[in-house]
């Protein structure tokens, strides 16, 4: 099964808009939303059945038993994450949001009043009918978003063997959840925005994907918001031999479609038409075993 991951670096460039269009065009039977912090794909991909929900246990968190605690304060002075608070009334307690589950407090407590306990950090959702759609929601304020992303990708393993394509909607940034989403990917499509910020962020995500030696292609969304920057991105791709799979215009009809719960290829609009061309070029790269060509 070939896996295409859609990333962007900068937020708000159109990953989910484009991912949903591609899923519809490919009639893809397997897709996933790896933006576990702020998942959106399910708002467009209407599902026929309910999801199978699984609790996600992130890192363990410490808890202090105040009846055993002697208030020596060793836990607090050794905690590097400022996760231990003190009040006269309640003594020492753990700030669960700051706790990283390192276990130093548990190990160092002379009264054995601290223990690490598993804690629910989110929820995995799997839709499995004639398609497989894996997504999740991280509980707000949680860490280990990367591990949850890995679980989202693992859920895709339940796809039947005959499925040849999975489309994965990624998250913004270059950190944890992005790095975790990169494992097992056959190609990354970067959705770039033609703004100075968008270009700067695009370069950083390309550099991140490069560290993992992954095939990368670039497309531009909302290209007509700045033609000069669009040209700049195209030249950048040429210079660094990064395949360019096309450009999509900004389109008010796209917003209407999304707000109505449709993808841009479900209605008649300029962004939808352009997306079809980007889709074709991206797919021919993904399934081409003979090596990359610089497609303009």
């Amino acid at each position: 099964m070939k896996q295409l991951l859609i990333l962007s670096g900068k937020g708000g460039t159109g990953k989910t808009t484009i991912a949903s269009a591609f899923i519809k065009l490919a009639n893809a039977k397997a897709y996933a939303d790896c933006d576990v912090d702020a998942p959106n794909l399910h708002l467009i991909m209407n599902q026929k059945s309910d999801a199978r929900i699984t609790d996600y246990f992130g890192m363990s968190k410490a808890a202090i038993d105040s009846s055993s605690c002697t208030r020596c304060g060793l836990c607090q002075s050794n905690c590097r994450f400022e996760a231990i608070k003190f009040s006269k009334e309640n003594g020492y307690s753990i700030d669960a949001y700051a706790c990283e589950g390192c276990g130093v407090c548990e190990a160092i407590c002379p009264a054995r009043a601290v223990t690490l306990k598993a804690s629910i950090a989110g929820e995995l959702r799997l839709y499995l009918n004639d398609i497989i759609f894996s997504t999740a929601q991280l509980k707000m304020g949680s860490g280990t978003s990367g591990k949850l992303v890995t679980e989202v990708k693992n859920q895709l393993k339940e796809s039947p063997a005959n499925i040849d394509l999975a489309i994965i909607d990624g998250s913004p940034g270059i950190g944890c959840p992005v790095i975790a989403s990169l494992s097992g990917i056959d190609m990354v499509l970067i959705v770039a925005e033609p703004s100075i910020s968008g270009i700067s962020d695009m370069e950083r995500i390309i550099s991140t994907a490069d560290k993992f030696k992954l095939r990368t292609a670039v497309c531009i969304n909302k290209y007509n918001t700045n033609l000069q920057n669009t040209e700049h991105i195209i030249k950048y791709c040429q210079r660094y031999h990064i395949p360019f799979t096309g450009r999509i215009p900004y389109d008010t009809k796209a917003v209407e479609a999304i707000n109505g719960g449709y993808s841009i290829v479900d209605i008649d609009c300029s962004s939808g038409e352009a997306a079809k061309s980007v889709y074709k070029k991206t797919m021919s790269l993904l399934f081409d075993c003979l090596g990359e060509k610089n497609v303009n």
Partner: protein, 122 residues
């Protein structure tokens, strides 16, 4: 020679797992005595560094070679330090791969993938 293989179930009918660090079980097989042992992989539940922990466990169980479809750079570093060779498996049939290894038909794993930084790969 004792070899380690990441497998999906703890029975001889099992198939080889696509992941190394987060495989549910490891099979330790002795090519001379034909002894077989299944180890539950404690590393699979780790928040991160699963490959490292799994590699440590395999070394502690005195395996001399690893048969796997993939391996991350951290675990590979551990195996290199322990002089344990890593061979690349072909498809997921357990018996085929063991036979291929015994005949010297499996090649060494060349593509080591980068670590997934605390977030596990698959």
């Amino acid at each position: 020679m004792r070899i380690a293989i990441p497998v999906n179930e703890d029975s001889m009918k099992t198939t080889i797992c696509v992941s190394f660090g987060r495989t549910p079980y490891f099979m330790i097989y002795d090519t001379e005595t034909k002894d077989t042992k299944f180890l539950s992989n404690q590393a699979a539940a780790s928040q991160g560094g699963a490959g490292i922990k799994a590699a440590q466990m395999i070394i502690d169980n005195h395996a001399e070679a690893l048969l796997t479809p993939r391996c991350g750079e951290n675990a590979a570093e551990v195996f290199k330090a322990a002089d344990i060779k890593i061979y690349q498996t072909k498809e997921d049939r357990l018996d085929h791969n063991i036979q291929a290894f015994e005949k010297g038909e499996l090649s060494l794993l060349n593509e080591i993938h980068p670590g997934f930084h605390n977030h596990g790969g698959n």
